[in-house]
Symmetry: C2
Subunit: 368 residues, 2 copies
């Protein structure tokens, strides 16, 4: 059926990458905390922004990191499971929206520009004849994933190649100066694999992890829950592989695997990763399954209207209880990296506070 012969070379390469992801630099985080308490403001008065700055110091290893060259990496792919009628939109919209990104007419174009971020679109497996080129690099692994209700999304070998392809892309972006990697995605039907991965990793049942995506009706919602339940049953029937490769191959999608790899690649370079919505959180779940230290490099841009998103974020440690709650709660459910792009100015603003504010001593202000 599937070519599941694991490629030992690729597996070794992935293991090396995973082992290279550092944990948080706790001394940088502590120094950031100490500096925050000397700046001319009441202690703790910047609330969650202060927690963010401690986290960024831990992730980057710099007390006052500079975030001046953010990049939105938008990976697009098609999903076999769209054939089950789980989306309000036809499958063709994936490719149509890629054209829209290239023409500059989508939400992410406006929001990335507003945030001063570079937008990089990647064809991770769209099932259409898209124009490959510098504006649209192609991963070239396969066109569209399998229908996870009935078959694996891809082979383990394909998942490995998508992971390493994504990591390589993140490495290239880091080489070019990217200091924040915001994740974005497009793929009609892709909240379904996101829900399947979230259920598989967290144990939450499908009726908790499945939501209305782009806006489906009650009947479609019930069908989507059944589809995710079928995918999970199939995953269990093959031994419920919980490592990142098995999860992605059985339940994922090509853009999800690519973004999981990009997450690993960025974390290995100490470039913080800014998650967008539910699908990017699912990619992060797979990355964390491969390298738990990835957690220390993640920032949640927002918590979306998809109910499973909060479940995934909680599992990633990206909640208020962990001092790492999502920066925005605006009921977004667009994807594309739109929520991440909206949050970028909060992050650049936070880092400017650390670099530019005077201390009580410097400014001659009484500490109270």
């Amino acid at each position: 059926m599937n070519d599941n012969t694991p490629n030992a070379g690729l597996r070794g390469e992935l293991a090396t990458l995973c082992a290279s992801v550092p944990p948080a630099d706790t001394s940088a985080a502590a120094a950031a905390r100490a500096r925050l308490d000397r700046l001319t403001k009441p202690r703790g008065s910047l609330g969650q922004i202060e927690a963010l700055l401690e986290r960024l110091a831990g992730a980057t290893g710099h007390v006052c990191p500079t975030i001046a060259r953010p990049v939105v990496l938008l990976a697009a792919a098609d999903h076999g499971v769209a054939a089950e009628g789980v989306s309000a939109y036809p499958r063709e919209v994936t490719a149509q929206m890629v054209h829209n990104y290239l023409a500059g007419g989508a939400a992410i174009n406006a929001l990335a520009a507003n945030a001063g971020a570079r937008l990089v679109v990647l064809d991770a497996g769209v099932d259409a004849d898209l124009p490959e080129g510098p504006d649209l690099p192609r991963l070239g692994i396969r066109r569209g994933s399998g229908n996870i209700a009935r078959e694996p999304a891809m082979t383990d070998d394909e998942a490995l190649r998508a992971l390493l392809g994504g990591a390589a892309r993140a490495g290239e972006l880091a080489d070019a100066g990217a200091d924040l990697l915001a994740l974005g995605e497009m793929g009609i039907g892709n909240t379904t694999p996101a829900a399947a991965i979230t259920s598989a990793v967290t144990g939450a049942p499908p009726d908790y992890t499945v939501g209305r995506g782009t806006g489906i009706d009650d009947a479609t919602l019930a069908r989507k829950v059944a589809v995710v339940a079928a995918a999970l049953a199939r995953w269990r029937s093959v031994g419920a592989p919980a490592d990142g490769v098995g999860l992605l191959a059985q339940l994922g999608g090509l853009e999800i695997a690519t973004l999981a790899g990009a997450t690993l690649g960025a974390a290995a370079r100490r470039v913080p990763i800014l998650l967008d919505g539910y699908i990017t959180a699912a990619a992060a779940l797979a990355a964390v399954a491969l390298a738990p230290t990835v957690r220390d490099h993640l920032i949640a841009a927002h918590c979306s209207a998809e109910p499973g998103h909060a479940i995934a974020l909680e599992h990633l440690g990206l909640s208020e209880a962990h001092g790492a709650g999502p920066l925005l709660r605006l009921g977004l459910r667009l994807g594309e990296g739109s929520g991440a792009a909206l949050a970028i100015p909060l992050i650049t603003g936070a880092t400017r506070l650390m670099r530019e504010m005077a201390t009580f001593d410097e400014a001659g202000v009484a500490e109270g």
Copy 2:
């Protein structure tokens, strides 16, 4: 005791200003709603950002408003009530922080720069010898307000002058091209008058409207509740004036009155007003008491850690239930306009979506 002789000329001027504040342009708001549904994204998928865009269209009268020249107006003043020991900081910090703003070392300097906003600092009544000049215009009404626990904050005449002075300042900023007015304030002790105004307007008792401000302990918190209760008792003893002028004169402060006036002035010019924290919400309560149509021009940047802030915002109609909830919930309690500055990029980003996104027809994307 107080010179409460109302100045008929100033009262007339204020009445004219209040009458000139237009209500929302409902046809522009409806056209914005219609355009949002034609843009290449699932309907409603930008959540609260879509509600914001409808609101901005109503406020400005433009379906696709441009917000490219935001201004943070930071009004500073001292408060007689600081003598009651309601703050963690000594009164001198008000002037020290004004020097910090002028030197560029405060949080608002970094955050306004990050947002591409001009920062305008106004001495609305600081009790110190500050250097008046182009960088620090002075209102010149009085140095510091009265202690509201024992006496009015100012006379009605002084409140009128502060209101009209703030409105004139907003008008000048609009003339210079400002297309969004973000409010900021500095004044040691000023969460106390904010709580008093919020209690007076909403009827919420002081133990609901008083919070820890910049970070006071339990004993100080209890004292602060008693101070607000005393101020309210005094306000009732003079007839509980509920008009904006009486509220501000009895319970306010000079920066609060100035910002209330700036709110009226901006609204009259259809320049949307972006509220920051609790003190700016109290200023808006006074402005709305004078001209209810002001409500349609307000945007809540955030909901702070101060418990009374949510009460004030609810009264202003700035809650999720009204489709106008605060954009951020980050546990901020700094003031200065810091939360407003953090929210500005969300607003500029939102307006770019309206102007720059393609419609389904334009992009050749299927509508689902």
